[in-house]
């Protein structure tokens, strides 16, 4: 006999079920047919099916699923869509990029979809065990995806990622076990209740436990000083995987951290000042280090660290406005950063070089690609009227609203620094002469990814009301 709770939970969780089963199907399909096209077709069908189910799931009221393991509320829905968007856009890039052997294409796409399930779970988790498993589902699959190409650099990156990741998981587990030891609970709402009743003599212990859990999450979102793995891993990984790592785990990490902060509200005050300072340090370190980079993947890695710094503003202020701003900025970041990576895929596939010099004279070789790239970079820099500006405006606005003017000032100063390295690439594309004269035509799937990201970056920048309507009511 199957319990009614189980049936109901499965119904709510159907998008992830389809995505997970689809991932297994794609792996099998790739192994049996040895055809890239077959695996890609099946992936498209599965992604489409899960999108349809996600649209259906949107209408249902907030609910707990699987005996309180996960919570499917509006916040989770936003992140489910973000995760779906990451997987769909990265699959488009993976189809065109040539850095993974065609023999392993089925496994490649299957693992990407498993990461998608993990990202969704991270945002839904309502139980320490579930949160940990979701993080590991994302991490373990990511280590393997990073190491999937043939060159030694990729293996080194995979190993580094594995070692750093294992260490951070260990630290986080230690924090979780302390939390469990003190409260005797694993489910988030129960921990929250237990923390409120806690004698003040145990507050320091709880704050330490929360700090350790936060360290694990900080590793995931590459917050300084836990960012050291980021440039090396991004450089060694296949470009589409780098694109996925730069958006997916960051978004899901923020989702989980938002939930954890809600859970440990009574003791978060002890950790908050540290996060406040590290927010400023993170954006400054990321942007300053990006200035001197010549490899475009490393440059985007440091740019990601800078962007995470801006996002952390929303977490530091801990207001509804801050969380709304995080959601808007993550949506913007999804389109502009994956768009920028789609440009990198097009350039790297054509020239085989990952140097910033490969972008030289792109405007003459591929005018549309260069224009898209410029739009994404300017949006990352936060110039109006693009989507990135709206997100940054809300983040800095949230900081000012809650009297944290210095965070906003730090953000604005950093945006000015970041403008230098973003505009430098645009200068290479438009003002310098190309290394080769032949025109560059990106593959069709990259064109689709560029089109989707470009339209979203411009349209939501000019008419942000649609995004606001979607985000409103989440908090």
């Amino acid at each position: 006999m199957v319990s009614a709770t189980l049936v109901e939970s499965l119904r709510l969780w159907l998008p992830e079920v389809i995505l997970g089963l689809g991932a297994m199907g794609v792996v099998l399909c790739g192994a049996l047919t040895h055809r890239r096209a077959a695996a890609a077709m099946l992936t498209a069908v599965v992604l489409f099916a899960s999108a349809v189910l996600l649209v259906n799931a949107q209408a249902t009221p907030p609910a707990e699923g699987f005996f309180g393991m996960i919570r499917l509320d509006p916040l989770a829905h936003v992140f489910r869509w973000l995760a779906w968007g990451v997987v769909a856009l990265v699959v488009l890039m993976a189809w065109c990029a040539s850095d993974v052997s065609p023999k392993w294409f089925g496994e490649y796409l299957g693992l990407l979809m498993v990461v998608g399930v993990g990202l969704m779970l991270m945002a839904e988790a309502q139980h320490l065990l579930m949160a940990y498993l979701a993080i590991e589902l994302v991490s373990l699959t990511s280590y393997l995806l990073v190491a999937l190409t043939r060159d030694a650099r990729s293996s080194e990156a995979g190993l580094k990622y594995l070692l750093f990741g294992a260490l951070s998981s260990g630290i986080m587990l230690f924090g979780m076990s302390l939390l469990f030891g003190v409260t005797g609970e694993l489910a988030f709402p129960a921990i929250r209740e237990a923390l409120e009743r806690l004698p003040s003599s145990q507050m320091r212990l709880c704050a330490t436990a929360v700090g350790l859990v936060s360290v694990g999450l900080a590793f995931k979102i590459s917050m300084v000083p836990f960012h050291l793995w980021t440039p090396d891993v991004y450089e060694g990984a296949p470009v589409p995987v780098t694109a996925m790592l730069s958006v997916g785990p960051k978004a899901a990490g923020f989702a989980l951290w938002i939930r954890v902060i809600q859970m440990v509200e009574p003791v978060w005050g002890a950790i908050a000042p540290a996060v406040w300072w590290l927010t400023v340090v993170t954006m400054t370190v990321g942007n300053l280090a990006a200035l001197s980079q010549t490899n475009v993947k490393r440059l985007l890695a440091y740019s990601t660290i800078g962007q995470v710094g801006y996002l952390l503003i929303g977490l530091s202020v801990r207001t509804a406005a801050g969380i709304e701003a995080i959601l808007v900025y993550l949506a913007a970041y999804l389109f502009m950063n994956l768009g920028a990576f789609a440009c990198v895929v097009a350039v790297v596939t054509d020239s085989g070089s990952e140097s910033v010099d490969a972008f030289r004279g792109l405007a003459r070789r591929a005018p549309v690609l260069a224009l898209c790239c410029a739009v994404f970079l300017l949006s990352l820099a936060g110039l109006p009227p693009l989507f990135g500006f709206i997100g940054k405006f809300l983040l800095f606005g949230a900081a000012i609203q809650s009297q944290a003017v210095w965070l906003a000032v730090a953000g604005v100063v950093n945006s000015a620094i970041a403008l230098y390295y973003y505009v430098n690439i645009i200068r290479q594309m438009y003002l310098l002469s190309p290394q080769q004269a032949r025109p560059l035509r990106p593959a069709a799937a990259v064109q689709v990814a560029l089109g989707v990201c470009g339209v979203a970056t411009v349209v939501f920048g000019v008419f942000p009301s649609g995004v606001f309507a979607w985000i409103q009511g989440v908090i």
Binding site: S3, L6, S9, G20, A23, M24, V27, G65, F66, F67, M69, I70, V100, S101, K103, W104, E107, Y108, G110, L111, V114, V117, L121, L129, M130, L133, A134, E136, L137, L140, T141, L144, L145, A147, L148, T149, R150, S155, G158, L178, G181, V182, S201, Q202, R204, L205, T208
Partner: protein, 160 residues
């Protein structure tokens, strides 16, 4: 008394794991730690957990570790592994973390242990929980293992 003895075994083993130069001996020390932890589980009345700990960690994981060390050349020789350049910072950081944990947990008093009979969880109760309350984690772990295995095979073969 026996608890303290087991604790000593675990701590000494753990220090050996990170300090011994010979990788093979370090792996055997890891086995000592794992057995010690299984013993601790036993004294806490978690018989099933102790059994699983020995079966999986000592039986499977440690065997794999030993295999990996034997198969990579040079490792079994007495030649020392590369010494990390960051020994001093590592000692400082871990020492600081240890001090912090010690200071915050010093106020904790362990609750009275339940008697073996009332605290024991039967295997059938565990099985029930795995297909009801914990069915989602159980399934997610399954997906995780399949993905890890498929990916590991792909990575290993792609390097050829």
């Amino acid at each position: 008394m026996i608890t303290w003895l087991l604790c000593a075994v675990v701590v000494v083993g753990a220090v050996w794991v990170v300090s011994l130069r010979n990788l093979f001996r370090a792996a055997l020390s890891l086995g000592l730690v794992l057995v010690g932890v299984a013993g601790l589980f036993l004294t806490l009345g978690a018989e099933f957990l102790a059994f699983v700990q020995i079966l999986i960690y000592v039986g499977a994981v440690l065997t794999l570790v030993v295999f990996a060390i034997m198969l990579t050349s040079r490792a079994t020789s007495a030649e020392p592994a590369d010494v990390s350049r960051y020994r001093l910072p590592a000692v400082i950081v871990s020492g600081a973390l240890f001090g912090l944990l010690l200071s915050v947990t010093s106020t904790l008093r362990p609750p009275a242990l339940p008697g073996a009979s009332e605290g024991a969880v039967t295997v059938s109760a565990l099985g029930q929980a795995l297909v009801t309350t914990f069915v989602l984690p159980f399934e997610v772990i399954s997906v995780l293992f399949v993905a890890a295995m498929v990916g590991a095979i792909a990575v290993a073969s792609a390097k050829k």
